[in-house]
Amino acid sequence: MSSFQFEYNQEAVKNLKIEDTSILDRLVDYRHAREARHKKDHSQRDKRMSLSEAVAEYVQDGDILGYTGFGYVRTSLQSDWEVIRQGKKGLQSIGSPNTCQSYGVTFGNTPYTHASYAGAEMRGYDKYFSDNIKSGRVKILSDWSHGLMGLGFKAAQLGLPGVFAKSGLGSDLVNYNPYLKVMNNPMVKNGDPCVFVPALCPDITFIHVHAADMYGNARFFGPAVNDLALAGATRKLVITAEEIVSNTDIRWNNKGVQIPFQNVDAVVELPYGAAPGYMPGCYYWARRWWEKLFTMMSEGQEHMDKYVREWILDTKDTRDVLKKLGGVDFMINQKRLAKAAEADNEDSGVSFKYEPWTPNTPPDVFD
């Protein structure tokens, strides 16, 4: 299916013990990705459907899944969980960070990763990810820095075969990433080593936004991370939105419109699509839910299996998840905290103090 024969960084292929490199091809096959985007119906048409329909139609087993947002910030967690509910298999994950592999589309569904950062920042490294690497349940196909991966998505968005970067030089990343090559800047006579980063084209990406119209024109605010780039880089794109607005609304509030409709395959109305994470200006993350999760991640497979069952397989949809998180009280409180955190609302008198999660925390407290 590939339109190119690829020449990977052989040292990295050897170091990563990748026997059949054809598994690497689709991510960097920008011609193939162009063809896929070109074949789409480019008309402005109503693309609305339910989340379960979108996942059923646009996620295939074996797809390369692009992760969006930033760990727990505007990440399409509810879409990721639906991918698990539908039992999709053999996926590759790519994103900066790829932290969500432990709590988004997790290892049973995703045996391959293009790694960049898996951890919980102040809570340290992700022991669950580490255990899964050691057991071989997930295999690293390439190891990245955030900046280099971001440039790969950006190159794809700009329609470039790749870019020359100044990150990665001298480090071991270039020895453990088949896609990266140290090359000289062709414009400089006496040598200017650079790292060539190819355009990176995932198969399917979910992006959660504040508002979209039925065609897929979408706007969001807060850290863009790599999502503008991914919206262009991916072959298939599902937009999930806090609200669906009219095309007139998009046009009259066009300062925030960031994702054009053409590459969008499906538009899903999905309030709280980033829960239990943070949605800029809309809802705060469920702090104790995350703290409990980090604890379970440290305690290993059995606990994480239980978590997947409890929160993902045994819930029907996002509404079910919200009820479990605390329902109306939770929703009102998280909105208040988010608006205060961003200084959108008066924040004096709004307390962010809370008792961090411990095994003694009541089982229904997650905020």
């Binding site: 170091n15 990563l16 013990k17 947002g69 930033f70 760990g71 727990y72 910030v73 900066s96 790829n98 790694a115 960049s116 950062y117 898996a118 951890g119 920042e121 102040m122 490294y125 990810f129 580490s130 690497i133 050691k134 295999k139 690293i140 190891d143 990245w144 820095s145 955030h146 900046g147 280099l148 971001g150 998505f153 100044k166 990150s167 990665g168 030089l169 001298g170 480090s171 071991d172 990343l173 040598g191 200017d192 080593p193 650079c194 605010f221 807060g222 850290p223 863009a224 991370v225 790599n226 999502d227 503008l228 780039a229 943070y278 988010a338 955190a341 961003e342 200084a343 962010f352 103090k353």
Partner: protein, 262 residues
């Protein structure tokens, strides 16, 4: 005041790191202690610094302590919010003065590991977080300051994996590799503050924290620390007022400055 708790090593680290920040600079802030130090510096001696975060936020107004480098406090009423490649691009373009980073292992030339511990990449003892933005900040900013706990397991002869290039093999190696910027200029640890000897680019003792002798610092290092000629100054410690700011205004929940298990 008399009842205030004694300073713990993480508070000392946060304070000493904050002193590495010069007013009016643009600083790239990594996760953990660099965030604490940055906010402390802004509230004390460096009110005009500008923060840059990799998720795209920069220059937020004063708010709480972020959970991470993507949280709402990183872009609270920011003048603009960027995307990741543009954020790192600013460092590559020469618009960021200093980057502040943590490490799991650090060698004598300021090369850092945050990727894995063990002999074999595909079967590590521990898989750590991976680079995140560590490599990019270290590769692209003009100056780098590292911060972390010092022990022979962390100050190592050879990193199990070089996630982020410092001075590589020393001398002019960094420049020859094509990297930008001066590379690491300082390391702040639980034992002292280090700089890099100008010719060899080896880590050199600059000051030691109260009660730490050069011998003790050396015991807590897996490689030989360069000792400067003459007497080694004692690191300045925070006064009560700064400790108060650190505990009550910067990190009141103690996310980063409480000792584990304390």
């Amino acid at each position: 005041m008399a009842e205030s708790k004694p300073m713990n090593p993480l508070e000392m680290l946060a304070y000493v790191l904050s002193r590495q920040i010069n007013d009016h600079e643009v600083v790239y802030i990594g996760t953990g202690l660099p965030m604490v130090a940055g906010i402390l510096a802004k509230k004390t001696h460096a009110p005009h610094i500008t923060f840059v975060y990799e998720s795209g936020g920069q220059d937020p107004i004063e708010g709480g302590m972020p959970w991470s480098v993507g949280g709402p406090e990183t872009y609270r009423k920011s003048p603009m919010i960027l995307e990741m490649p543009y954020s790192f691009g600013q460092a590559a373009m020469g618009l960021v003065d200093t980057g502040f980073l943590g490490f799991a292992q650090l060698d004598m030339y300021g090369n850092a590991n945050t990727t894995m511990i063990g002999e074999e990449f595909t079967n590590p003892k521990v898989r750590l977080t991976g680079s995140g933005g560590n490599n990019d900040v270290a590769s692209l900013c003009e100056k780098i300051v590292f911060v972390g706990i010092q022990s022979p397991q962390k100050f190592v002869k050879k990193c199990d994996f070089i996630t982020s290039a410092g001075h590589l093999t020393g001398g002019n190696a960094r420049q020859e590799s094509g990297l930008l910027g001066q590379g690491p200029i300082a390391v702040v640890s639980t034992a002292g503050v280090y700089d890099f000897e100008p010719d060899t680019k080896r880590m050199r003792i600059k000051t030691l924290h109260p009660g730490v002798s050069p011998e003790l610092a050396q015991l807590a290092s897996g490689f030989e620390l360069v000792r400067p000629a003459g007497e080694i100054p004692v690191t300045e410690i925070p006064n009560e007022e700064i400790l108060e700011i650190l505990r009550h205004e910067v990190d009141p929940q103690g996310f980063f400055i409480s000792m584990p298990g304390a």
